[in-house]
């Protein structure tokens, strides 16, 4: 495959890469794209090769290497479409790598560098999804409203974000009323169990103290009580944090699916303004 000459005048320079991608040989395709990058002396071809390699690596599920690869690209001065492709891939890869703040920063760069409003909209859902993951619900809601207006999509927005409970309050409740913090976090059974254990250990300590067994009272009754008491406070805080996390993840999953389903037809239309292959520039 490397017998082909890498002259920039050759329009078929990415043919081999395309064939490998078509055959789902992504590892070979990524090497082939790097080969084009290495042998070509023309900047535009090299940038396209980086994009091609990123796509192959993305298919391999290696988002970290795909992102690192695209960091070698410098979009400034390229055609608007190539600039868009590079910024879009970077934003998307940051999302896939769960770098939510990175998505917001890269998305802002895309909007600054790419002037085509349709292309801006093509990547516009990514910062909204990142805001959701960052649990910045109000900003996500506002941005979503603006985004849907620009796409001329009308309709009710998804329900309000899940009610959050305070882990600090759960811990405080268990500090002053054992077991109540766990109940507040939705673990009623565990709360009652914790309360019962603390009462029994305290009762055992008091009984021994009353009958004159002070050492036994201190180290068995007192020891068990402090273990259940402080353990109960920690468990209440943990359950509250975990409950918030699960509720947020569930809400984000639903809203993400909702947005993508809603905007997909409009985005498909706008995608037609991009060339079939970025390499036909």
């Amino acid at each position: 495959m490397y017998q082909q000459e890498y002259t920039d005048a050759d329009n078929g320079i990415f043919n081999q890469w395309s064939a490998l991608m078509g055959a789902r040989e992504y590892r070979s395709a990524s090497v082939e794209a790097e080969r084009v990058y290495f042998h070509s002396s023309e900047r535009i071809t090299r940038m396209k090769a980086l994009l091609a390699r990123t796509w192959a690596l993305k298919h391999l599920g290696d988002f970290d290497r795909a992102f690192e690869n695209l960091r070698r690209a410098s979009p400034r001065g390229l055609s608007q479409e190539l600039q868009y492709r590079i910024h879009h891939e970077r934003t998307l890869l940051m999302y896939l790598r769960e770098d939510w703040e990175g998505v917001l920063a890269e998305s802002a760069r895309l909007n600054h560098m790419v002037r085509n409003p349709d292309w801006q909209l093509l990547s516009g859902y990514l910062p909204i999804l990142a805001l959701l993951e960052l649990e910045r619900w109000e900003e996500a809601h506002t941005e979503m409203q603006i985004y849907l207006d620009k796409l001329e999509i009308a309709g009710p927005l998804p329900g309000s974000p899940p009610d959050r409970i305070s882990p600090r309050r759960a811990a405080l409740l268990s500090t002053f009323l054992p077991g109540s913090g766990q109940m507040y976090a939705g673990k009623t059974g565990e709360g009652l169990g914790s309360l019962g254990l603390q009462l029994v250990s305290l009762g055992w300590g008091a009984y021994n103290f009353y009958t004159g067994y002070y050492v036994t009272a201190l180290f068995t009754g007192g020891g068990l009580f402090q273990a259940f008491y402080f353990g109960g406070i920690d468990r209440a805080e943990h359950h509250a944090t975990e409950r918030n996390r699960i509720a947020s993840a569930e809400f984000n999953r639903e809203v993400t699916a909702w947005i993508l389903n809603l905007v997909e037809p409009s985005l498909n239309q706008k995608r037609q303004s991009l060339s079939d292959l970025p390499f036909s520039h």
Partner: protein
């Protein structure tokens, strides 16, 4: 000699000068691909480099058999890429195939020994460690720094084998004059002392100490936290037992229960102290093995940059 024969001779000599055996012209596709493979190695795209090398070797297998120098270069690059991807058997196999007139032969030899020692050290394969030491000892390195590196690696392998006499024989050769390994040589001496000191500790002494003062055997084993915790546990159960004995008398069930608990903790503290010595020794051995294997490779990186 005819003009035609003279012309042929001239072209033949010119070709030999321009294209010495084992090299490719960079303008050809083979040469271009070799430059590309070098680029992949330089960029540390190890997986891609291995992929490209295996494709190249497949497509040029007939030509490669006539170009041993190029074949060796490919083995070296593949070995280096495999080593960096921690594909140790592949790296060893590649390095071992490099011919002794290749410029990277000495580097490949040292890396082969190191990787074999590393593999055997991780797997605890003492037989393979001995074979590696034998192979390394029989190699002849002419330059002083390589000879000292050989002694350094041999000393490390003998330390892994806990053969302190073997270590002593080779550590005598340490001059300490090479910056690339002076610090590691010092550390090896320190490891040897630490291992010998650790092995001198006796589980019997630890048990005896804990029988007299609960927890002290664990302190002796080097586990301070565990020793203090054992002392407190035995003291608390001892206190509860003493209280029951004085207030309820020796026949009361409360005394029997607290006495049993105290006895159980007291005996387990003695037993635990003896075991703690063994566990601590194993942990120290394992940790020092890791450090030896790590230190063995530092001079390689510094010398063969």
């Amino acid at each position: 000699m005819s003009t035609a024969r003279l012309a042929f001779l001239f072209i033949a000599v010119l070709s030999m000068l321009l294209f010495p055996a084992g090299s490719f012209s960079s303008s050809g596709s083979e040469g271009g691909e070799i430059r590309f493979i070098r680029h992949l190695v330089e960029q540390q795209f190890w997986g891609d480099a291995l992929h490209a090398i295996s494709e190249f070797e497949h497509d040029y297998r007939h030509q490669l058999s006539r170009r041993p120098q190029l074949q060796d270069s490919l083995h070296f690059m593949a070995g280096w890429a495999a080593y960096n991807r921690m594909l140790l058997p592949d790296a060893i196999a590649r390095f071992q195939r490099i011919g002794d007139n290749h410029p990277r032969y000495i580097q490949a030899s040292f890396y082969t020994f190191y990787l074999r020692a590393y593999q055997a050290g991780i797997q605890g394969d003492r037989g393979e460690l001995r074979v590696t030491a034998g192979a390394l000892a029989s190699s002849d390195f002419r330059s002083d720094i390589h000879a000292e590196l050989q002694s350094f690696q041999l000393a490390g392998v003998y330390l892994l084998l806990r053969d302190f006499n073997g270590f002593e024989d080779h550590s005598k050769m340490f001059t300490g004059s090479y910056f690339a390994m002076a610090e590691e040589q010092q550390r090896f001496r320190h490891y040897a002392l630490e291992l010998q000191r650790t092995d001198r500790k006796s589980p019997f002494v630890a048990a005896l100490m804990s029988a007299v003062v609960p927890g002290s055997g664990k302190l002796y084993a080097g586990r301070r936290g565990s020793g203090i915790s054992s002392f407190l546990q035995v003291a608390v159960f001892g206190g509860i037992f003493a209280e029951s004995l004085t207030r309820a008398g020796p026949r009361h069930p409360r005394t029997w229960a607290s006495g049993s608990a105290f006895g159980l903790f007291y005996v387990s503290n003695i037993w635990g102290s003896a075991i703690a010595v063994r566990i601590t020794q194993e942990e120290i051995h394992e940790e020092i093995d890791q450090r030896i294997l790590f230190d063995l490779h530092i001079p390689l990186r510094a010398i063969f940059r």
